[in-house]
Symmetry: C2
C-alpha cells in the first residue's frame, strides 16, 4: 500500500528518525481525503451556531456550548473527556444600546453601536459633544481643555495596504483597548470607536477593552465604519454635534466555567502531550462562527480524523476547547497553571483562531531548531497549498504555555475576509465555507501527525 521510497532529510536535530518516509505523503493524502469526504466539522459548526448561538463566558449559552461539545466528543470513542474548572469574568450587555447624534443642522440620527465587553453602563442617558481623534498624539495635544465633558471619537481606520488584515488590525486595536483609559484621564465622559474592520458597512464590531490604570470608568462603544465616516463628515460641518448614549451593560461577579478537554492517549509517550485547540466562548453577537466556532470544530475534527483513519499517536493528543479567550483568557491561563503545577510535559501546541478560511501555512513560536525541524515538512504540505512554515505568532489560548521548551504554532488561513465578520452580528454559519473549513482541519491533523511521528 505504501511506497517504500525514502527521502533523506539532513539537519534534523530533533527527529527520532533521520528519514521522512514517503508513506508520510500517503498518510497526509488520507488525512485530506477523510476531511474532504467524511468531514463532520461543517455539520458540527451548524449545530453549534444554530443550536447554541453566541456564547460569551458566564452566559447560559456558554454552558449549553460546553454540553454540546461533550456530546459531540462522545461520538468519537476517545480515551477521555473531562472539564477543567476555571473562574471567568461575567459581563452582560443588558438592554440594547442606544446612540443618537444631533446638531442644529441635522435631525436626530440614530446610530447602531455595540458596547465593548467590560464597559460600564451609562446609568441613564449620557450627553455631550464629540471630539474626533485619529492618534494618541492628537488626543494629548487637545488635552483636558478640549476633551473634558465630551465624548472622544477614535477614528483611525485600519490600513488597507497591509496584506495581512491581522497586521492592519494590530495597527488600530489600541484605540479599542486603551481608548477609555486614555480619554478618561483627560475628563472625557465616554468613548466611541470606529469598528475594527476594513469593510464599509453598518455592522458595529465589539471586542475587549480595559480600565487598567483608569481612575474613572467611562463607557465605550463601537460604531460601524459607515457611521464613523458619516459622523466624521458631520463633525467637519458642525463641531457642536451632540451624542446621547444609553448603555445597560455591567460586570457581575466572576463565575465558574470550564475548559473542555478530550484526549487520545499516546502509545509510546503518554505523558508527553501535543495540544490542539480553539476557544468555545464567543462575543455576544452573531454566532461566533469564524471566531472561533471554526477552530472548535476543526480541533474536534483532528481527533475524529485520527480515530477514523486508525492512527494511533505515540504522544497523547489533547484537544482543548478553551473558555474565555475573548474577555480574559482565563481558560488559557488557568490551563497553563495546571500544566505547571502538575509538571506535565507539553512538547507542541497548535491553535486555530483566525477564522475558517482556506489555510495558507503555519507560524511558529519556538526555538530555531524546532522551526527548522518543522520546515522539513514543507515539501509534504506544499501539495495542499500550505505554502509556508515560518516564525510568527501562535495564539492567545496556548500563549501562556510558553516556557522556552514547548513549540507553539498557529494555523494561518487566508485573512482577507476575517475582519468582515470578526466580533460582529455577521459572524454567522452561512459565512463559513465547508471546504475551506475542512481544509483547515486537515492541515492541523497533518502537521500534528508529522510532529507526533517524527518528534520524541
Amino acid at each position: 500500500m505504501f511506497k517504500t521510497f525514502f527521502i533523506v532529510i539532513l539537519f534534523s536535530p530533533i527527529f527520532t528518525l533521520s528519514q521522512i518516509e514517503l508513506n508520510d505523503s500517503s498518510m497526509i493524502r488520507y488525512i485530506f481525503d477523510e476531511a474532504l469526504t467524511n468531514g463532520e466539522c461543517h455539520q458540527n459548526l451548524k449545530e453549534l451556531c444554530k443550536g447554541v448561538g453566541h456564547r460569551i463566558s458566564g452566559s447560559d449559552a456558554s454552558y449549553k456550548a460546553i454540553a454540546w461539545g461533550q456530546n459531540v466528543l462522545k461520538r468519537y470513542a476517545l480515551d477521555s473527556i473531562y472539564l477543567q474548572e476555571i473562574l471567568v469574568p461575567h459581563w452582560v450587555r443588558g438592554s440594547k444600546e442606544r446612540l443618537d447624534f444631533s446638531s442644529k443642522q441635522i435631525k436626530l440620527y440614530q446610530s447602531k453601536c455595540l458596547a465593548y465587553g467590560g464597559s460600564v453602563g451609562t446609568n441613564g442617558v449620557l450627553k455631550g459633544n464629540i471630539v474626533e481623534v485619529k492618534s494618541w498624539d492628537e488626543l494629548d495635544e487637545l488635552g483636558e481643555k478640549k476633551i473634558k465633558g465630551n465624548f472622544v471619537f477614535y477614528n483611525r481606520p485600519m490600513n488597507p495596504t497591509r496584506l495581512s488584515t491581522f497586521h492592519a488590525y494590530g495597527g488600530c486595536v489600541d484605540q479599542r483597548y486603551w481608548g477609555a483609559v486614555r480619554a478618561s484621564k483627560l475628563g472625557a465622559i465616554g468613548v466611541l470607536v470606529r469598528s475594527m474592520t476594513l469593510k464599509q458597512d453598518l455592522n458595529p464590531h465589539t471586542g475587549s477593552m480595559t480600565y487598567e490604570g483608569a481612575d474613572l470608568k467611562i463607557p465605550s462603544v463601537a460604531i460601524s465604519t459607515v457611521d464613523a465616516h458619516n459622523l466624521s463628515e458631520q463633525l467637519k460641518k458642525d463641531k457642536e454635534t451632540e451624542a446621547k448614549m444609553k448603555l445597560g451593560c455591567k460586570t457581575l461577579p466572576d463565575t465558574v466555567s470550564y475548559n473542555l478537554i478530550a484526549e487520545i492517549k499516546g502509545s509510546e509517550f503518554p505523558d508527553k502531550i501535543i495540544v490542539v485547540g480553539g476557544h468555545l466562548d464567543s462575543w455576544d453577537v452573531g454566532e461566533g462562527a469564524h471566531d472561533d466556532g471554526a477552530g472548535i470544530v476543526q480541533s474536534i475534527e483532528v481527533l475524529k480524523i485520527f480515530k477514523n483513519l486508525g492512527i494511533q499517536p505515540k504522544h497523547t493528543i489533547r484537544c482543548i476547547l478553551y473558555m474565555n479567550e475573548e474577555n480574559g483568557n482565563r481558560g488559557g491561563k488557568t490551563y497553563a497553571e495546571m500544566v505547571k503545577n502538575k509538571g506535565e510535559e507539553h512538547i507542541f501546541a497548535i491553535e486555530t483562531d483566525r477564522g475558517g478560511f482556506t489555510p495558507k501555512g503555519f507560524t511558529v513560536d519556538g526555538t530555531p531548531e524546532q522551526l527548522t525541524s518543522l520546515q522539513q515538512f514543507e515539501s509534504l504540505l506544499e501539495p495542499y497549498d500550505l505554502f509556508f512554515i515560518k516564525k510568527g505568532y501562535s495564539g492567545v489560548d496556548i500563549g501562556p504555555l510558553k516556557d522556552g521548551k514547548i513549540c507553539l504554532v498557529g494555523l494561518v488561513p487566508d485573512s482577507q475576509r476575517y475582519f468582515d465578520f470578526h466580533h460582529a452580528p455577521s459572524d454567522i454559519f452561512e459565512n463559513v465555507n465547508k471546504r475551506e473549513l475542512e481544509l483547515g482541519a486537515a492541515s492541523l491533523a497533518s502537521l500534528i501527525y508529522l510532529v507526533d511521528k517524527h518528534w520524541d
Copy 2:
C-alpha cells in the same frame, strides 16, 4: 526615493537587463497600495452586476455591457478604445423551464432546472422514465435497450478530494458537454445532469454543451446537487419514476457583437503587445459577478493602475474585454485571427477568468525559457502571498493566440468557493469580496509591470 541595491539574477535568457533592480520591489508596493486604497474595481463590478446584470452573447444586456465598458474605460484617459466586430451564437432560454418528477409512490415533485446553453427546447412537454448513470461505460452497458425512449440522468459528482476545484470540475464536465450526444445515439429523449458544483444546495448550474456528431438534438438540463441526490434516492425506490420536461429555449441566427479593446501605447516597442483580459459576456442567470465580471474589472483596473501611478509601459498594454467566452469563444478566436491576419506581434497575454478570489499565483503556458524568466520574479511577488509561477493552463479567451512564441499566463486565485457560484443564480456581486478582487488586480498589474520592464 528608490533604494539602489541590486539583486543579480542568473540565467535570465530573455531579460533586457541582467539585473532586477530593487526599485521593482518598491513599484510593486505602489501597485498594491494603489489597488488597495484607490481601487475602483469593486465599484465598477457593482455597476456591471447591478446596472447591467447577466449578459449572454447576443442579448440586449450584452450590448449594454459593452456600452458600460466603453464609459468606464473613457474615465482613464487611455490612448485608444475601440470595438472589434465578431459574429456570435444567439441562444435564448425562452420561458422558464419546468421539470416534474412523479411515480406511483410520490406525488408530483417540481424540480428546479436550467437548460444548458445551446440546448433545443422540448416543443411541448416531453415525458419518459429516467435512467441514472455515473459513467460512459455504464451508459454503453445499458445500451439502446434500456436507454431508448427514456431520459438519461448523469449523476457523477465532482471529486471533493481534488484540492483544486477546477480539477474536480474537469473530471465531470464531460457529462454536461457530451451528455446529449452520447445519450441521443442510444435513443434517449432528453438529458438531466447533476450540476457542476461541490456545494449541496438547490441551485442548478448551467453551462455549455454540444450536439457535435449527433444525428438528433435532444434537450439537456442541469439540476441542483440536492435534487440530483433526491432523484437518485427516488430511483432506488422506484425505477418507474417519470420526468416531464418543458423547455422553451432555442438558437436564433448568429448575430453581430464585439470585443471591446483599450490600449496604453508602448513608448519603446509600440508594435509589441501585452494583453490582459477577461470576458464580458456571462451566462443568463445571476449577475456574472465572479464569472467573469471580476476578470473584466480587474483587467480595466490594470490600465487604471498604470495611468494613476504614471507608469509608461515600453510595450503596448492592450486590455481586451472578450465577448462570447461562455458559448462559443468567438471573441477569442476572432481576435486571434485578426492578430494573425495583421501580423501583429504579441509577446505576452494574461487572462483572469477563475473568479475574484484571493490570488495565489500564476500558471504559464509558454516556452521553458519564458517560464524560467517569469520565475525570476517569484521573490518579488511572494511578499504578496503569490506563492507560485508554474507551468499550467492560461485561459479560454487567450488560448487561440498560442503560436509557439507568445507566453500565455493565467491568474490563479483560491478555487475553493468558485464552483459554489459558477454559472448559477448565486453568482452575484454580494459574493465577491472587495479586497480579494483588488488583490487580483494588483497581482495582474505587478506581473505585467515586470514583464513590460524586463522583456523585449
